[in-house]
Subunit: 393 residues, 2 copies
């Protein structure tokens, strides 16, 4: 065992520079003096680090701010337009791409729908989209700093999609494929993990430290942010909570087990149940959008949503027992049905989860709606860029 990295002055500088930079990002605009007070670093240390950040164009100075009884401060601002990031949500039957600045503000957006495309054609759609987004990026110091792609399946550290059953992908080396084409750093992430991160950074979970993002779409996955950082498991397969057993003797699932949660509480479950109610086969006639339109007038459909909501509650109760999180966020497709789902979920938890678990717990729906994953994965990319930028300079 040779040890990874030792502690030296270089690490100290990098750490302090990162602290200063993060503080500017979170408190823009701010003066050098205030940074020194807040961080406990010496004024001259802050000055020297700030001058480096200025040289790198990551921040800039604006005119003098308000005096607080003495010389007026020079305000420092995060230069969020010094680079742009691409975030792509690769869904089972759609592709959503966004271009964001370094603060995660969306400056451009593209969307494509399709059905059951083979891998090669999805790749083509993906390339078209990325090329368009790159073209649309305003000119800036660093240009497009990276591409992030969220995928509904397990991803390992090398950016290989190991297993994506709903796409029918196995072992696709997506990172190297995209990186080779564009020569820009690429990050591949699980869709639920990215969604969790998106909600933590920009959405409903901003001050959550232990957050579980329930991605309820065709199947159910969970993104886990524990102790403030993403948890991905041993091989990137964590959060496969759709295949958690909630009924030992329940019907068989495609995964080979019985009574899996997603058989009761996913969009797919909803559609199958709706087809049963309407005594037809599942078809394009029956979709989440159609059901949402019909619900206000059809008590049977209303009841369906209630049932799905209750079962969502069952699984969320299990999540709470397991993680004791401060925030559970329900996102992806079923977020659109929040008005019907919220009540049964909340009721189930109130009646089944011990009171001490419910203290300081918030269960809510995604604030970013369909954009959680794309935003999350774009933010991953930004994060990675800024870290590298701080180290190598």
């Amino acid at each position: 065992m040779t040890i990874q990295h030792t502690w030296n002055q270089h690490v100290v500088k990098k750490g302090n520079k990162s602290i200063v930079f993060q503080y500017i990002i979170n408190h823009t605009p701010i003066s050098r003096a205030d940074i020194a007070k807040a961080t406990g670093l010496n004024k001259s240390t802050v000055s020297s680090l700030v001058s480096e950040l200025l040289d790198e164009n990551l921040i800039y100075e604006s005119g003098p701010g308000e005096s607080s009884g003495g010389r007026r401060p020079v305000m420092l601002l995060f230069n969020e337009l010094s680079g742009f990031s691409i975030g792509i949500d690769l869904g089972v039957n759609y592709l959503l791409g966004i271009l964001t600045d370094l603060s995660g503000n969306i400056v451009n957006e593209e969307k494509v729908h399709f059905t059951e495309l083979p891998y090669e054609q999805i790749q083509e759609e993906l390339f078209t989209m990325i090329t368009t987004l790159i073209k649309n990026a305003p000119s800036s110091t660093y240009g497009v700093i990276g591409i992030g792609i969220g995928v509904p399946g397990a991803v390992n550290k090398e950016g290989e999609v190991l297993h994506a059953p709903n796409l029918m992908w196995e072992n696709v080396k997506l990172k190297s494929i995209v990186e080779e084409k564009y020569s820009i750093p690429v990050i591949i992430a699980n869709e639920a993990n990215a969604g969790a991160y998106g909600e933590k950074k920009f959405g409903a979970g901003k001050d959550a430290n232990n957050l579980v993002y329930v991605s309820a779409g065709t199947g159910i996955g969970a993104g886990l942010i524990l102790n403030g950082q993403l948890y991905q498991g041993n091989n990137g397969f964590s959060g496969e909570m759709g295949h958690m057993t909630i009924e030992v003797d329940g019907p068989q699932c495609t995964c080979g087990s019985n009574g899996c949660w997603e058989l009761y509480a996913s969009e797919k479950a909803l559609l199958i149940k709706a087809a049963l109610v309407q005594k037809t086969a599942v078809s394009s006639e029956i979709s989440l959008e159609a059901l949402l339109k019909l619900a206000p007038e059809d008590p049977h459909i209303l009841n369906l949503f209630k049932e799905i909501g209750t079962y969502l509650g069952v699984g969320i109760n299990n999540i709470i027992q397991t993680f004791n999180p401060d925030h559970v966020i329900i996102g992806n497709r079923l977020e659109a049905a929040k008005h019907y789902l919220n009540n049964p979920i909340v009721t189930y938890i109130k009646e089944h989860t011990q009171p001490f678990h419910q203290n300081e717990l918030e269960v809510s729906f995604s604030q970013l709606s369909t954009h959680s994953t794309a935003l999350g994965v774009a933010a991953f990319t930004v994060e990675s860029f800024l870290q590298i930028e701080l180290v190598t300079t």
Copy 2:
């Protein structure tokens, strides 16, 4: 938001000293030169840090080692006898206390059994035990460096036992109570968390990075080590997996929910089922130990164990889906029945968990048997002592 701690030379030194110290602990005996090679630190840096550790009596020099073609090295050894730690497993009807050296070697052990004692009397037993253990500690540089107590319930960061249903405790400020009496640092931890840590440090999970310890006793709790560190949730209530629903319409549990895992797979479930089989009430006649003796000759009882094992498999499958761990360890009371439980558990998982999850996964029983918790909590205490020791000197 004022920032916690900035980076300065002091932090660097502390970090490097810790690296050197840890390397000595894990590779004792070792020379200065080898430490420098392995860590990448300069020889002189190592020398200076080592001389401090020598002054603090945390390590010592032995006679010269084998030459590798030049001057013979001076070997450095971890002085594991420079202090002693107390670890106590406070169970529902027993108290197990151990005295360990800084390496976790047990040098003294005490055990008491009781039934349904009120808090005051348990406290008395606890004090008696601690006093005895302190008396039995050999004299050393640092003496008894701390007391760790593992409790079957939720514990917050202030060492308060918030909720321990099986003990019928609520809001017991155990840390301050014990600290006041002995004036030694006290650490209170959840029993399953401590067990997880014990197994990671000394037992079956030595090189596991994502480890779930299933504490199967009267109830079921789980200790979670994720990304190499303990996860405790928002208020210390994580790992209450005994109350995960595995049968939506199952019987009611004391927690208020239905079909909780521990209704099917705990020691308590076993005893209740055994009483049903034998058509008597649950009594002191029926105990895990008694059933283990009867099993080889009674196929009904053998079958009971098989049933419990299968249900353990159900919950463990859920754990695997959720965490994608590299190791699941089953411990506490039911570990004693491993010969009967192992097969049904393994079979259930083989048949219900997707193959990709089973790669690089090990499911096994506790190696430390009944000592996981006590050893874990003693190790917490040592860890905390060594950290403080390195900082303040």
